[in-house]
Structure formats: structure tokens, C-alpha cells
Symmetry: C2
Subunit: 200 residues, 2 copies
């Protein structure tokens, strides 16, 4: 590696760290002081190269206007809801216990604002690999396809089950021989389980 390429790398690293720590990018002089370059002009030349190479973007004559064109990992940000009370909207302020972030690629291509997480209670879905205490990532929707895992409200309580619908009724199937399917008209789907997360 050329000596100057190493310096280019050093400068880029310094900009990244500085920006992360401060919340704003460094000045040319701050860079020069930290990468062992006594000339501000040298810094400018390196920054010009970094811009040409596509690592940063600058806006001429503006101070601290180094924009790192970083390849951030895309994420989704969603609330964890605690008890789901009937009547209330699920995402009401008082239901939200926490907020989490995960890579978008870990779930499907869903709208960020329609996602929420719910702690699974009980072992009724254990044969589907969903254990008591697992966190279910749920996409809010009023209907799901047959065979998909749904979150549904049954007698004012949220439950996670396989969803099946025939022409005359809806049934929720557990994945555990110890439990019986739930059937009835008074079942409303509130979402589809799109991912499961378990802390071990």
C-alpha cells in the first residue's frame, strides 16, 4: 500500500471517530493535528481525494461540512408492548414498555411504523419453535393468510396461534398437542408474527 493511501485511510478513520464522538465533523485543522500532518493544505488535498473516491462529500466553503457517505446498516425501530388491553389501540403510549432496533434484513419488507413486539406467554406454540418468553415481532394487520402465525384477540387477551379460516368460521391452532384449537366468531386478528427473538 502506498504511503499516501495509508494516510487517506487514517484520515477517514479519524473523521469517523470524531464525528461519532462529537456529533459533528472535524475541521481541517483538527484533522491535521491528529494525523500528523502539519499542513492544512495537505489535509485539503486528501479530502479532495476522499471525495473523488466517494468516501465523503463536501460542500465548498462551508465549515465542518464533511458528510461521511457511510454504508449504514438499515434498521427498523419498533415498540415493545406490554399487556394488551382490549379496546385501547395496541400502540397507545401507556402500553409501550421499551423500544428496540434490529436490522431490516431480519424481518421482511414491512412498514417500520406498523411493527411492534410482544412477549409470548405460555407454551402453546412450542412445536413451532416458539417458547414461553420469546419475543414476537408483529406486523399490524387485520387479516392473515391461512397457516400463518397470527396475533389475535380472544376474550380480551392477545394470543399467538396458527390461523385458519374456512367459509363459516375462524380457528386458531396451537402447536402443542396438549392444547385444543380455539374457534369462534369473536376473534379479531391484530397482526402477523414476522420474526421471533429469544434471549438465552
Amino acid at each position: 500500500m502506498k504511503k499516501s493511501e495509508q494516510k487517506m485511510q487514517d484520515i477517514l478513520t479519524f473523521i469517523e471517530e470524531y464525528t461519532k464522538n462529537s456529533g459533528y465533523p472535524p475541521t481541517y485543522r483538527e484533522i491535521s493535528a491528529n494525523v500528523n500532518l502539519k499542513s492544512i493544505n495537505s489535509v485539503k488535498k486528501y479530502l479532495d481525494r476522499l471525495e473523488l473516491s466517494g468516501y465523503i462529500k463536501k460542500s465548498g466553503f462551508k465549515s465542518r461540512s464533511i458528510d461521511l457517505v457511510k454504508q449504514e446498516i438499515p434498521t427498523v425501530n419498533f415498540p415493545v408492548v406490554g399487556r394488551v388491553a382490549a379496546g385501547q389501540p395496541i400502540l397507545a403510549e401507556q402500553n409501550i414498555e421499551d423500544r428496540l432496533v434490529i436490522s431490516s434484513s431480519l424481518i421482511g419488507n414491512y412498514d417500520d411504523s406498523l411493527l411492534f413486539a410482544l412477549k409470548v406467554r405460555g407454551d402453546s406454540m412450542i412445536d413451532a419453535g416458539i417458547n414461553d418468553g420469546d419475543l414476537a415481532i408483529v406486523h399490524s394487520q387485520n387479516t392473515v393468510e391461512n397457516g400463518e402465525i397470527a396475533v389475535a384477540m380472544v376474550e380480551d387477551k392477545a394470543t399467538v396461534k396458527y390461523f385458519y379460516k374456512t367459509k363459516d368460521k375462524i380457528s386458531l391452532h396451537p402447536a402443542n398437542a396438549l392444547y385444543k384449537p380455539i374457534e369462534g366468531k369473536n376473534i379479531s386478528v391484530i397482526g402477523k408474527v414476522v420474526a421471533i427473538i429469544r434471549k438465552i
Copy 2:
């Protein structure tokens, strides 16, 4: 709400958006032009208030030195490794297929740089709720406690199993009656499974 409090809110929002879009914070004049304030001095007074209230931090006389004291959700960032080849270090460049981010709170209190993820192959751990295709988040370590779920190298292949050690041998137990435990001396633990993620 007081009129000036609304303006304070507007300014904070503008700073957040500007910073997100540009990668660096706005100048006083840019703020003044965008929140309908013709005086730069007014902007300064608002920023002073915002700093007193703890919403931002400034460094006197520095340009664009508005640091948003945002309450970011803490995350960990780790690689997804593909095939695990024997001999090579697991985290070698060529093994890394992707990088993911998840909230720190979803795993234990582990060192960011020792985490990696591995796609689970087979159904040998299905009774532990770990299915074929699940993503195991693994903490690199050379030993685990009895009963914990480990990633171990067996005949040059990585496998996920319950770990048990007696005084004379190590055994790896599947969670599936169809499989038999693996025993032997030629077993090396490379990590402990700390979380499971499944995309449905």
C-alpha cells in the same frame, strides 16, 4: 404552550432533521432562515436555552458545534459468518457474509467485538425451540457451563448442541430424540449461543 416554547421545539426539530440529512449540524444562520427568525441573535438565545434544558450541547466559538444529546437506543453490531472452515479464524474476512445490528438489550451484556451470528443447519435442536434456518447469535468463548447451548467444532464442522462435560469427557447433546449425543475428545467449543432469531 408559550409561543417561544413552540419555537424552541421547532428549532430542535429542524436541527435534528438537518443533521440527519446532511451529516453535520446547521449554522445559526441556516436555522434562522428555516424557522422564521430574522435575527441570528434570537437563534443564539434559543440555542442557549436548549443547552440549559439539556437538549443540545455546544462548544463555544466553534462553528456547527451543536451536539444533539439524543437518547439513542444502544445496539450491537456483529458479522454473520457463512461456512465455518476449520483452521481459519471464524471471523476471517472471507467468512463474513453480512453484518447485522440489534438492540443490546436483546442479548446479554457481551462484548460487541466477540459476537457473531451463524445460521443453524438441521433439526437436531428442535426440542429446544431452535429450528433449521434459525440465526444463532454467538459469543466467542472457549468454554461454556454445563447445560448451556454451545457452538462446537466437530470434525471440521460447526454444530450447535447442549454442552456437558464430565471429568473424563465432553459430550454434545442434541434436543431431538432422533439424534444421539456426540462424544469425544476432539471437540472444541468456539462459542455460546446467547440469542436466537427467526425470520418467519
